[in-house]
């Protein structure tokens, strides 16, 4: 499946400035792994260890937090949209 991953500012130094990266994947985990394979330095920013994201990394699939779906195992359909979003203080 072809999916778009939206890249937030703090990660664009790793993607050579790209704010959108397209990858092939069947699950969120695969999509992120493919992203990490394309850009060196990405993996340690996203993952604490394989299968576990850093505490302050939030991932959304089509506007839904993956923790309400199937976490990293959330399946991906063609045309889905993944966002990487840092956690934000309240208000």
């Amino acid at each position: 499946m072809a999916v778009k991953i939206r890249i937030p500012t703090p990660l664009r130094s790793v993607t050579n400035g790209a704010d959108m990266v397209e990858v092939q994947a069947g699950t969120v985990d695969e999509a992120l792994k493919n992203l990490c394979a394309q850009f060196s330095g990405m993996e340690k920013r996203l993952y604490k260890q394989p299968g576990e994201l850093n505490r302050f990394v939030n991932i959304y699939v089509n506007d839904e937090d993956i923790r309400f779906l199937n976490n990293l195992q959330t399946p991906i359909k063609d045309g889905d949209d993944i966002s990487v979003v840092p956690a934000i203080a309240g208000g």
Partner: protein, 424 residues
């Protein structure tokens, strides 16, 4: 004179200069202001603080600004009152209300964080400020931006109380209602901050913004006569204020301004949005996000960014967490009004209701000092009590009509037993 050294990631330790960045570029962890505490010794004293004007800037040596304060010169220094009537009702020995429902100019604890953030926005050269808000923050940003002559964009969830909406609009910001809950607003704002070059106070100014919340704790300590309450109960939404009150206490202890009485801090949430309290109860620091469903809209944040630090502060202090149902929240709002003359919003009702439950369950002993953090004002949320209060009787302007009314009133009084305040 500023004691600020720079910013440092709380997770991985990476250091950054003072600028508009909110997360660590290495690990996404939040950034924290670093101070030169050694240089403060002997210079930041009770006397140096007492010599400054009675507003939140009297603690400026412990706040992250480089020049003069540019906002909030009449904010902070809200009342800390001994609550004798509540003490009797709850059967406790020493209870205080720290009352930010009286925080000027928009009546919530948010003046503290916004005063620092707006000052910082000006220092960093921004001409536009913004926020993602559950209501109170937007009110405060709109008011302080108006005074400072900055453009303001405030983003809120679509379903807020009218008082919270008008309480921003009156100051003339651009307000955008987002069709979603606060967590949707938050996410959008992080993308807006990326794209537009604005100072979004709780996004890219967050490290500076959050420091302002310490002034709540500083004031409690100073107003108590340079002493800390043993137990502090505080509401939690995104998780800014609780860890910062605890940090304020620790800074005063470290600077030798107050004795270390091993203060404990407790998190209060609405039962319909209690991800932090659930984590405290379960004994882990992983916060499971929720979809909020509660009348306490100002604290309805289902995915609290700093929830982890709330759990840490609570654990480290030996405190606990407690939640309150919507009915308990309304009862507590009424109880506080009818005993202490303070009308708070649901966030305050939540905090008092949680305090009562913590006392009744024995978590907070009845014979030790307790501070209840009231962080917002009830006049902004009339919706939550409008159906809960007896409407006034209407009569013609005639004395006999009034006499007739008094007769029924007295007959009623004779029948009903002495009133016990609700919520106990």
């Amino acid at each position: 004179m500023s004691y600020v050294l720079g910013l440092k990631c709380r997770e991985c330790g990476e250091k950054y200069p003072q600028k508009g960045v909110h997360v660590c570029e290495v690990c996404f962890g939040p950034l924290e202001v670093q101070y030169d505490y050694a240089a403060m010794r002997g210079k930041v004293t009770r006397e140096s603080i007492e010599s400054k004007p009675r507003n939140l800037w009297r603690y400026r040596d412990l706040l992250p600004i480089n020049g003069e304060p540019k906002a909030g010169l009449s904010s902070g220094w809200t009342p800390l009152r001994r609550a004798h009537n509540l003490e009797k009702v709850l059967g406790v020995k020493e209870l205080y209300i720290k009352d930010d429902s009286a925080n000027y100019p928009t009546w919530s604890y948010k003046e503290r964080v916004v005063s620092v953030a707006i000052t910082k926005a000006i220092e960093l050269g921004y001409d536009t400020v913004g926020c993602a808000s559950t209501g109170n923050l937007a009110n405060s940003v709109a008011a302080h931006a108006a005074v400072a002559g900055l453009k303001a964009f405030v983003m809120i969830p679509h379903d807020l109380e009218q008082g919270k909406v008008l309480g921003s609009l009156i100051f003339g910001p651009t307000m955008v209602r987002i069709e979603g809950n606060y967590d949707d607003v938050n996410r959008l704002c992080s993308e807006i901050a990326d794209k537009y070059k604005w100072a979004i106070v709780n996004v890219n100014l967050r490290p500076f913004y959050t420091e302002g919340a310490k002034t709540f704790g500083f004031e409690v300590a100073e107003q108590l006569g340079w002493r800390l309450p043993k137990h502090t109960v505080c509401p939690t939404a995104g998780g800014t204020i609780l860890p910062k009150i605890y940090k304020a206490y620790q800074e005063f202890i470290d600077l030798g301004l107050v004795a270390d009485n091993a203060p404990k801090i407790y998190s209060a949430q609405a039962a319909g949005c209690n991800p932090v309290v659930e984590a405290i109860r379960a004994g882990h620091d992983l916060i499971k996000p929720q979809k909020p469903k509660t009348i306490a809209k100002s604290i309805a944040i289902g995915n609290p960014a700093d929830g982890f630090y709330v759990v840490q502060a609570v654990k480290q202090s030996g405190g606990w967490g407690e939640d309150a149902t919507d009915a308990e929240i309304v009862d507590a709002i009424k109880l506080l009004a009818r005993t202490e003359g303070t009308w708070t919003e649901p966030a305050g009702g939540t905090t008092l209701a949680a305090t009562i439950k913590l006392i009744n369950s024995g978590r907070i002993p009845r014979d030790e000092s307790i501070c209840v953090c009231i962080t917002g004002n009830g006049l902004k949320t009339v919706e939550v009590v409008v159906d809960q209060l007896e409407p006034p009787t209407s009569i013609p302007p005639k004395l006999d009509a009034f006499d007739a009314l008094m007769a029924t009133y007295q007959a009623q009084q004779a029948k009903t037993p002495a009133k016990v305040p609700a919520g106990v």
